[in-house]
């Protein structure tokens, strides 16, 4: 479950980035038909609900998954909020391509991750219960609405017209509307039904429910609803033969007075009346070339934001910043590679070097290095690293499939110690032991070639370290 939450959180971050771009493009499209702004939200929705995405060299989305999955699995005891972490978080907000995973990963997760996941699930449950119960309450209130004609029903229990229902949507209108008003309202609601807005809006709301912890997504939902209504208004104006802008605005105004301000995610409720009236009054049938340009812009933005970057091509504005940070990462891994390579040895019998290598290895915070033993009498040669920890951690490693931390360290040792055949990690809490064993064949199989080749130079070893970081996430 924690893993699922991390997935959704990462999707939320990517979607937020996409949403900011959409909000910006929306401003450029201000003077154009709102249907283009409305269509743009499809990309944000896709990012919010779809964990996998298509790769393309045209992508403008940051490549790194902001938070690694291992956050959900690793065990580190105490929280450290340091200036450094906050600094990283700030960097991240300025440029989403900075992986602030490192600082987050070094924060504590035991408990915190489970708690966050629980809060997230409870929030979803509360929102779903609220929407479903308000759906049924409204449906009860509408049951006595009387047939007006076709799929149109009237009732004195509502103040504002809306579309209700998914499969066979009906239009509900308050009783006592003036005839000319009614014409516009019905056209407006029929456009909603024709465009399947009555299905799109609940689907959009479901995405918001999933990402309820992200205020930007709520804001997007609000903007999307506004674009939906405005583009619907525009369609009514386009389809009408005469200029009905003035009388249409009047109808909007007269209904706005009666509306109540409750959140009704599943209905249309006439919202944003002031902005909509302005939009209606300023509306002109758009010029063809403008529509053409807007359509192309929307298509390009969709492709660029819908896809993830693939490995080889990133010919775009972000490539500079991205390569800067890649450079930065490379420098730090080169430094680490240099330290390790100082203790490279052909023989497992070289105890000082083996000891120094083990000393450089990283273990989870609750796990501390105690001592090591060498088996050098006969083949197979082995190293056993003794680690101290608590009962909880032992039980954790005994149950979980995630052994990536040990795996990573074993591969480093196989690469640097030429003739070792087995690497064992013995985890103890003083009462019971838990042993993880790796063979050289395991290590070679994981990496896909002889791991010793990587200890030939700084560049190569840095490459290995990077590969190991990637393993960690799977």
């Amino acid at each position: 479950m924690s893993r699922l939450f991390v997935t959704v959180f990462n999707m939320s971050l990517t979607a937020s980035y996409v949403a900011l771009v959409v909000i910006f493009i929306r401003m450029l499209l201000k003077k154009l038909p709102k249907v283009f702004s409305y269509m743009l939200w499809a990309v944000v929705w896709f990012r919010l609900v779809c964990p996998v995405s298509i790769e393309s060299p045209l992508s403008l989305v940051p490549a790194e998954s902001p938070i690694p999955y291992s956050i959900a699995n690793s065990i580190n005891p105490d929280l450290q909020f340091s200036v450094e972490n906050i600094g990283n978080a700030l960097n991240h907000s300025v440029n989403p391509s900075v992986p602030f995973a490192d600082s987050i990963a070094s924060l504590n997760k035991t408990g915190i991750m489970e708690l966050a996941t629980a809060v997230w699930l409870i929030g979803i449950a509360v929102l779903l219960c609220y929407s479903i119960s308000s759906y049924f309450k409204l449906s009860l209130r509408l049951s006595t609405a009387t047939l007006y004609k076709e799929n149109i029903y009237e009732t004195d229990r509502i103040n504002t017209p809306f579309v209700f229902g998914f499969i066979r949507p009906k239009i509900f209108i308050p009783t006592g509307l003036a005839q000319n008003e009614l014409d516009y309202i019905l056209k407006h609601e029929q456009v909603h039904i024709k465009r399947k807005d009555h299905i799109i809006k609940p689907l959009a709301f479901l995405a918001v429910v999933l990402h309820w912890f992200n205020p930007l997504i709520w804001y997007c939902f609000f903007l999307m609803s506004k674009d939906m209504e405005m583009s619907c208004d525009e369609r009514v104006l386009i389809e009408s033969k005469e200029d009905i802008r003035a009388s249409y605005s009047n109808s909007l105004l007269s209904l706005s007075v009666k509306q109540s301000g409750i959140l009704m995610p599943l209905t249309f409720g006439e919202s944003n009346v002031k902005a909509r009236i302005k939009n209606v009054l300023n509306f002109k049938k758009p010029l063809l070339w403008k529509v053409f340009i807007a359509a192309i812009l929307v298509a390009v933005v969709s492709v660029v934001l819908m896809t993830n970057p693939n490995e080889n091509g990133r010919g775009n504005v972000f490539s500079n910043t991205v390569s800067f940070f890649k450079q930065f990462n490379r420098d730090s891994s080169l430094a680490a590679a240099e330290k390790f390579l100082k203790y490279k040895t052909e023989y497992v019998g070289n105890a000082p070097k083996v000891g120094n290598i083990i000393y450089l290895l990283a273990f989870p915070e609750k796990v501390s290095y105690d001592h090591f033993e060498l088996y050098t009498d006969s083949v197979p040669y082995a190293v056993t690293v003794y680690l101290m920890t608590d009962t909880q951690t032992i039980n954790y490693y005994a149950q979980t499939l995630d052994q990536s931390l040990f795996e990573k360290n074993a591969i480093i040792m196989f690469s640097l110690i030429g003739n070792v055949d087995y690497i064992n990690f013995n985890l103890t809490d003083g009462k019971s032991d838990y042993l993880v064993q790796y063979t050289r064949d395991d290590a070679n199989a994981i990496i896909g070639r002889d791991v010793r080749e990587f200890s030939e130079g700084k560049q190569e070893f840095a490459e290995l370290l990077k590969k190991l970081d990637a393993i960690k996430e799977n």
Partner: protein
Amino acid sequence: MKDLKLFDAEYKLMDIIWELEPINSTELTRICQNKLGWKKSTTYTMIRKLSNRGILQNENATVTALVKRDQVRKYESETLLEEKFEGSLPVFLATFLQGRKLSKSEAQELQKLIEEATK
């Protein structure tokens, strides 16, 4: 005064009953389905609600109105007068006649009503 306030839907149902009473309740659900677009259960719920309020009765699957159309209209006009015109009939009439001419026959009819009411 008995509460005869009817919602739009209730009034529409009573309209059908006033016209056709006494009417078989199954027949009534069929008519409501055609005219009002109601499900069977909706019609039965409405019948039960209105019979609890003493506005109609449903005995042996036969529905009859216990309140006449006139009573409802009287109630409606009295509440309107109370709520909006401080219970004053002259104020109501004055407002009603603002910018409006009565036809001769309307005036005669009104005169007759007033004479009868003051006898």
